[in-house]
């Protein structure tokens, strides 16, 4: 497979991203890749759908808010149904830089990986690295995933990632709900997926707010840790 022959879907989950979504879509389009862009509107109350459609994306609109996990999973279901070779998850808030798309899918095109994560921390190349407390949380997940699976992932919370058909099929059926990123890595690993990382730059959010606030982040730390530990004692067959 190469960049032009592979059928690639860019899944953009969006919840109330009016003002950002069109820019994010145009950012992808300006490189003229033959990629399809699918915005999953997660029950937005603003003009996200209208702006995404006007920008030329396909839009699947969930009837109510499912959270990021449910939204991204809808994208995987679409990718599976329509026989895509690769599904890329990319945020609709302008954080992720579309110039890294080809770099992100290259390990899959070359058959080197089943899932590729765009990492902010591989190279110290400037770019936005997130706040101090957030980085502490990220380091915790790095250690946890390493201890439990032996995988060395430098940016487990990154939502900029690519998946091949094997992972698409699994995630369409079963994908972690709220704050799914670190957990999804463990799920993919448990399914025998080969996971790799490439260095990317991220931008600071331009508008909207992160889906994770102060108190909630403590809840998520606990929730994700618990979920990841559960995956380790769950038998492979029952998944």
């Amino acid at each position: 497979m190469n960049v032009t022959s592979a059928k690639v879907l860019i899944i953009v989950p969006a919840f109330n991203e009016s003002g950002n979504i069109a820019r994010s879509i145009k950012d992808i389009q300006k490189y003229n890749h033959p990629f399809d862009i699918l915005v999953i509107d997660d029950g937005s109350k603003d003009k996200t759908v209208q702006e995404a459609l006007e920008a030329g994306a396909r839009v699947v609109s969930l009837p109510f808010n499912l959270g990021i996990g449910g939204a991204v999973q809808t994208g995987f279901q679409y990718a599976l149904e329509h026989g895509y070779d690769i599904a890329v998850q990319m945020d609709g808030d302008g954080q992720h830089d579309a110039s890294f798309l080809v770099k992100l899918i290259t390990p899959i095109l070359e058959g080197q990986a089943d899932m590729v994560i765009g990492s902010r921390f591989i190279e110290d190349n400037g770019g936005f690295k997130s706040s101090f407390s957030r980085r502490l949380g990220i380091r915790f997940f790095v250690r946890l995933i390493d201890a439990l699976t032996g995988l060395n992932i430098s940016d487990p919370t990154s939502g900029f990632r690519a998946h091949n058909q094997k992972i698409i099929t699994a995630f369409a059926d079963n994908y972690p709900q709220d704050f799914p990123e670190p957990e999804a890595i463990v799920v993919a690993k448990r399914l025998g997926g080969r996971i790799s990382e490439v260095a990317v730059l991220m931008r600071k959010r331009e508008g909207g707010q992160s889906s994770i606030g102060q108190l909630k982040s403590i809840y998520y730390m606990f929730k994700v840790t618990f979920a990841i530990c559960l995956h380790m004692i769950r038998s492979r067959e029952s998944r």
């Binding site: 699947v60 969930l62 009837p63 109510f64 449910g70 809808t74 679409y78 149904e81």
Partner: protein, 124 residues
């Protein structure tokens, strides 16, 4: 009114109420089963209260009332856990349906668009 009579009356009403809910299709049997068993046990112990006292004594409760409170507490704890399981199941099904609906709606819109391309005269 004596307490024994009151206990029998209330537990019987509870049991009949659950049966009536099932009869009127307000409760399906699957979800009513736990309540039927609990209220039937209530009637049983109200009628044969001597047995209740004996059982409490056998298990080492100093007062039969402690035994009743303890049993009720355990029953409700279990019932609420079962209800939470049902709730999660419903929640998952809801989410799956929302995803299915969203994807189907998208496909329908695509088909409509394609149709209107081929027969623009019929477009209203």
């Amino acid at each position: 009114m004596n307490i024994h009579f009151l206990a029998i009356l209330l537990s019987s009403l509870m049991f009949l109420f659950v049966v009536d809910l099932v009869r009127r299709h307000k409760l399906t049997f699957k979800y009513a089963l736990a309540w039927l068993l609990v209220s039937a046990a209530g009637v049983f112990f109200a009628v044969f209260h001597k047995f209740l006292f004996k059982l409490a004594g056998f298990l080492g409760f100093e007062l039969p009332s402690n035994f009743i409170f303890f049993t009720l507490f355990c029953v409700f704890l279990f019932l609420s856990l079962v209800l939470t399981v049902f709730l999660c199941q419903q929640n998952n099904r809801n989410d799956t349906m929302a995803q299915k609906i969203a994807l189907l709606e998208f496909e329908i819109k695509q088909i409509k668009q394609n149709l209107s391309k081929y027969s623009p005269s019929q477009k209203q």
